[in-house]
Amino acid sequence: MHTLKGTKYAIFFGLLPALIIYLGIAVVPIGMSAYYSFMNWDGIHPMTFTGFDNFTEIFKDSIFWLSVKNNMIILLTGVLGQIPLGLLLALLLNRSMKGAGFFRTIGFLPVVISSVMVSLIFGTVYNTEYGLLNSILGSVGLDSWQQNWLGDTKWSMFSISVAYIWQNCGFFMVIFLAALQNIPNEVNEAAELDGASGLNKVMRITIPMIRGTILIAVVFSISNSFRVFDLIQIMTGGGPAHATEVMTVYMYNNAFVNMRFGYGSAVSVLILIFSLIVVTIVNRLGKEKA
């Protein structure tokens, strides 16, 4: 679109520094890890080429498929939990109201505290005997709802999902707030002149205006869900009996606990492929609808 002289060079030099660092420190390691995925390597003995052995072994391992399933749960939790909640908060707070600034700050708190803290907190919330959740349920007479939230394999994934929503919805709130504030005032004014207000305005005017941001948020949430690690590792360590294990935890355990770096690398290649597929599909759908 620009017909300026030297634009080509400008593009080249503008992208170059970012590309050099990115290629050297991010892409090359990804390539190396893809290379290891065809090897049997414990990190110490010499590597041996084993072809697709690692991959066939992974596909035969039921624990891997369990971790894939858990990843899907986290993915859905992210897209269907964090994003709507974040959007709702942003819409509520993007108005002149008393205390909006306060709520915005508070909303972001869970994002800034480290996963260690989040896990400590939820560990005490979910504890069966003295945990906050069961105490509250007990005090309002809902004793029958009390559960062993993290220890019971029926509930453990659910409990983790709640912690995951809590930890991240503030982040999406901020992203959406930034987008909402970029909607020119004229658009809002025009909409109000047309008689649009409340929910009607939100659905007809606001959401379409920030469609791009929503798509970004969805993609980001998906990529996050494939990389979730700290929260689960610290809260349950993937247990009990693999019930809350996700692919990254599975990879970490194989690579750094069992010292099977080749196998672990193969898992990470699969994580990359899976997330690429999902992100591409979502991107296609998002663009088609637009």
Partner: protein, 276 residues
């Protein structure tokens, strides 16, 4: 009509207040426990301390080696942050406002970084750093932090910049401004809310990053805060109240930083409407 909006308002406040309580409570809980003795905490994690143990904070400061680690964390966090956001914004500008041959490919390449499980790159990065002789230096952390967060930075900024109307640069072009000047004086100012977002995110990620710091840094003179925060947990023992004191200290810079930038997020609105 009046009544309805009044009810709506009450509901909104009730919802937001509950949300606020759920968010504040853990921090409050952490601060309360950071003043308790180990026995008080293990006896009841929800009680209040009988005597405020201020000494927890000095002990925590010492065990986590904060004199050194705090400074290191600030240097590494800001250095990575500045480099990432500058280079990322520049790249996002070219990717969003220009058409060129390899645009789609370059953009896709950058996006890939958001999908990679970082643990998989730990050993390769360690080997690269060893080969270019950067192990155990600030750069050994700054480079990976920059490389991996460039993806997210470019992703968010590109999406934001893409949304601007196409004729935005026209006036600049009329003035005869160069590509970089348009970037600096037209595009960047209206990108402010998104910039604030990526700056905060980069800050949080860099400030809390643990794994790379663990493996790539060996000298205690260069270690960062998260490594110090792990010092409280042994195999069979842990000093949780001290750890909470340390976590509280480590939280302060992020909170300050967020509060400062939050103004930018709000100001973004006026900046956008004036220039756009």
């Amino acid at each position: 009509m009046e009544k309805k909006s009044g009810l709506f308002r009450t509901l909104v406040y009730a919802f937001l207040s509950m949300f606020a309580i759920i968010n504040i409570f853990p921090i409050f809980w952490m601060i309360v426990n950071s003043f308790k003795t180990e026995q008080e905490y293990s006896g009841n994690p929800f009680s209040f301390p009988k005597v405020l143990q201020f000494s927890n904070y000095s002990k925590a400061w010492e065990v986590a080696n904060m004199n050194t680690y705090f400074v290191n964390s600030i240097i590494i966090t800001f250095a990575s942050l500045i480099v990432t956001v500058l280079l990322g914004a520049l790249a996002a500008y070219f990717l969003s406002r220009f058409e060129f041959k390899l645009r789609g490919f370059t953009y896709g390449l950058f996006l890939l970084g958001m999908l990679v499980p970082i643990h998989a790159t730990l050993i390769p990065i360690f080997m690269i750093m060893k080969n270019i002789n950067l192990l155990d230096t600030y750069l050994s952390l700054i480079l990976p932090y920059t490389a991996f967060h460039l993806s997210l930075t470019i992703f968010i900024l590109e999406g934001f910049m893409r949304g601007f109307p196409r004729d935005l640069e026209e006036s600049g072009v009329m003035d005869g401004a160069g590509v970089f000047r348009i970037f600096w004086s037209i595009i960047l100012p209206i990108t402010r809310p998104a910039l604030a977002t990526v700056i905060i995110l980069n800050f949080i990620y860099n400030w809390n990053e643990f794994l790379f710091a663990l493996v790539l840094i060996s000298s205690s003179a260069l270690k960062t805060l998260p490594l110090g925060l792990a010092n409280f947990v042994g195999v069979e023992t842990a000093s949780l109240t001290l750890q909470m004191a340390a976590l509280t200290i480590a939280l302060v810079p992020i909170l300050i930083f967020y509060l400062l930038l939050q103004k930018q997020l709000v100001n973004g609105m006026t900046a956008g409407s004036v220039k756009g």
